[in-house]
């Protein structure tokens, strides 16, 4: 079959070869060639991942790609699901926009290293979306994290260095916890393949060691998924690090960590009921904390950073609930977050002296704000509705009320910022305005998704591989 050519390993192998050759590109054609090669690679990968997503549509449970020709669980496999491949497509698309944007940045030296880091954060997070092996997931987590450290400290300014060191220390401690969690899991279950581990665990049940393992996985992925006590590094990073990198953090590392949590919590551990309430409350508290902090901010980027933490909290809650509806909500909220906050961050890097947005990006600004507060035509609206329905259905009324209440707070401060930013007259660099405009175009296309009859089917397909047979 011709669709066989859409093997994600081909994408990963070619991308790695291109990145490894970066010193050669630089010697041959300077940083111009390095930039050109990266742009072509990202465009190719975006198209390729669209093909992979199309292939994933044909397999309701996702398809498995063997590596090295060994059968699972003995070799590493990729478990390609529709959800993962769609998110990976978005990562490469945002990376494409970011590298267009980065061409206007002259203080990022050495430039070839900057482009290589951008490639590797996209590659690492798409690997996290696609892999089906627990230790391989850890390796990709580290790739994503190290690329994030490098990008975050790249500007060598006072603010970035301070923000980065906090991030580095928290993430390194988290990675030690991840390894302990893997040691527990491997010692108890004797396998590292996710599907096999889930099957083995069903026979054993949640013992004390497994509870401990879940908690350590929570700590391990919580730092990058921005869960409340572990997200204290994030506001400073969002404040100081260049906006094209933040766009990749939003679409790449934070989404990938949330997706890893989805894999472990829902797929492998099967939503352990005795820890369910704790997880839900962690997510809700993250949301409340973030929205409260965001309300009182006087700096736009800080406010956006906290808003993004709030979204991460919602996604975490939706994933942790683990029902059909709530997983759909998580998927829609993830997409909405990428489409709205990334646009706003691209704009936030180009405010004029008086703190207004440039004239060329009026439409993206409106779209970004409306998307950020989940207004009806945007997919975030459906995400929130689904989340509310899921919470009501499972009887978590207190959380329902709290999320609704603090959503109003979100609308209030977002409106305040919109009034402040709107109506500027300054001009914006054309290359720079391209990124938010293109992203807005995609979110405009997404408006018509509910009109397509197959959309409901696609949503069903997205959550199917993760649904536990026992949980409803």
């Amino acid at each position: 079959m011709t669709l066989k050519i859409f093997d994600p390993m081909l994408m990963i192998g070619i991308s790695l070869a291109v990145v490894f050759l970066m010193p050669i590109w630089k010697t041959l054609g300077g940083k111009k060639l390095a930039w050109l090669v990266s742009v072509l690679l990202y465009a190719f990968n975006t198209l390729f991942m669209i093909g992979v997503s199309y292939r994933a549509l044909l397999y309701p449970e996702g398809f498995v790609v063997k590596i090295g020709g060994f059968n699972p669980p003995f070799g590493i496999v990729l478990h390609v699901t529709l959800w993962g491949s769609i998110l990976a497509t978005f990562v490469w698309f945002v990376a494409f926009l970011s590298i267009l944007y980065a061409s206007t940045r002259y203080d990022a030296e050495p430039a070839d290293v900057y482009y290589a880091l951008l490639t590797l954060i996209a590659l690492g997070s798409s690997g996290m979306f696609l892999t089906g092996d627990i230790f391989n997931l850890f390796v990709f987590t580290e790739i994503t994290a190290l690329a994030a450290f490098g990008l975050s400290g790249f500007m060598k300014k006072k603010g970035t260095s301070f923000a980065t060191i906090k991030y580095v220390i928290m993430a390194e401690v988290a990675s030690a916890f991840l390894l302990v969690a893997i040691a527990l899991l491997y010692g108890k279950l004797g396998t590292l393949n996710m599907i096999d581990a889930a099957a083995t665990l069903k026979g054993i049940g949640m013992t004390g060691a497994m509870v401990l393992s879940v908690l350590f996985f929570l700590i391990g992925y919580g730092v990058e998924a921005e869960i409340f006590p572990l997200n204290l590094w994030a506001p400073d990073v969002y404040r100081y690090v260049p906006e094209e990198v933040i766009a990749l953090f939003i679409s790449g590392s934070s989404k990938a960590a949330a997706f890893a949590w989805l894999r472990m919590w829902v797929m492998v551990f099967g939503v352990p009921q005795k820890l369910l309430d704790t997880m839900l409350w962690i997510g809700v508290i993250t949301f409340i904390f973030a929205e409260t902090m965001a309300y009182s901010q006087k700096n736009f980027r800080r406010a956006l950073g906290y808003a993004s933490l709030g979204q991460a909290g919602l996604v975490f809650t939706a994933i942790s609930l683990g029902t059909d509806l709530s997983l759909k909500a998580a998927f829609l909220l993830m997409l909405n977050h990428i489409l709205s906050e990334a646009v706003l961050f691209y704009i936030a890097g180009n405010l004029s002296e008086d703190g207004t947005a440039p004239i060329g990006v009026k439409l993206p600004l409106i779209f970004g704000f409306l998307g950020a507060v989940s207004m009806p035509p945007f997919i975030g609206f459906w995400g929130k509705i689904f989340l509310f329905m899921a919470l009501a259905k499972t009887g978590h009324i207190a959380m329902f009320v709290l999320i609704a209440l603090f959503s109003i707070v979100e609308v209030a401060y977002m409106y305040r910022w919109f009034v402040k930013l709107y109506g500027g007259t300054s001009q914006m660099d054309l290359t720079r305005s391209l990124s938010p405009v293109l992203l807005t175009l995609v979110s405009f296309i997404m408006w018509f998704m509910p009109l397509v009859p197959q959309a409901v089917n696609i949503l069903d397909m997205v959550v199917k591989p993760f649904l536990q047979k026992g949980v409803m």
Partner: protein
């Protein structure tokens, strides 16, 4: 000792007690082999054709992890280069002659040891990572003696070519056998130096890449970045 320290120690002792208890209760020390391990112990020699099972797992069964791992090292190099850019240091301080001669004698021996470790990586303990670290420590010796300037560009090229070779061997596997990193070469006889198909080649590439990356990292840590 303040309250904070006492609290921290209490937390640590609790942590150790709880985790050690659940480990020894459910994963007893010295327990029997797991399902995965049994399979590897029984089948590795037949499936990969090499006697060192750790190498077989690192390069063949879990070769993709290893590719990720050299990428992590590359990222460390890139990050260190980005944060502490290399600047040309013109001054070369001559080291003491005894040190200089000592290094001249020791240096080739260390390189030889590294080469031995990597070439026999699939037969005896050791392999690409260990050899890479040994070779990097030889260069570290050179750096510390301050008697030479390493041309870091050459290390970058070595690393680029070795890494690309690894990735392309993987991609070639897709076309030759339908799976990334598929072992498409003849496996030869067990215990022979030339056996195991792509495994020794990949491990040598890993050794080259790891050694050049570690050397770059260490030299940037030592001298990179403008002092203010």
């Amino acid at each position: 000792m303040r309250l904070k320290h006492i609290l921290a120690w209490t937390f640590v002792i609790l942590f150790v007690a709880v985790v050690a208890y659940s480990f020894s209760a459910e994963v007893p020390f010295g327990h029997d082999l797991t399902k995965l391990a049994k399979y590897y112990v029984d089948n590795t020699a037949r499936e990969t054709g090499i006697p060192n099972f750790v190498t077989a797992i690192v390069v063949s069964y879990r070769g993709f992890d290893t590719l990720g791992e050299v990428t992590v090292l590359l990222l460390a190099t890139l990050g260190v280069i980005g944060i502490l850019p290399w600047e040309k240091h013109e001054k070369v301080k001559k080291a003491h002659p005894v040190l200089l001669w000592g290094i001249r004698i020791v240096f080739p021996i260390i390189l030889l040891v590294g080469a031995y470790i990597v070439i026999h990586g699939h037969l005896t303990p050791g392999g690409g990572f260990q050899a890479g670290a040994v070779v990097a420590s030889a260069f570290l010796l050179y750096l510390v003696s301050l008697s030479v300037h390493l041309d870091l560009d050459n290390f970058a090229y070595t690393e680029a070519i070795a890494g690309t070779g690894f990735a392309l061997i993987g991609v070639a596997g897709i076309f030759a056998g339908g799976a990334f990193l598929y072992n498409f070469m003849p496996k030869g006889n067990l215990f022979d130096l030339f056996s195991g198909g792509i495994i020794p080649i990949v491990y040598i590439l890993i050794g080259l890449k790891v050694s050049s990356e570690l050397t770059e990292v260490v030299s940037h840590m030592m001298k990179g970045g403008a002092e203010q």
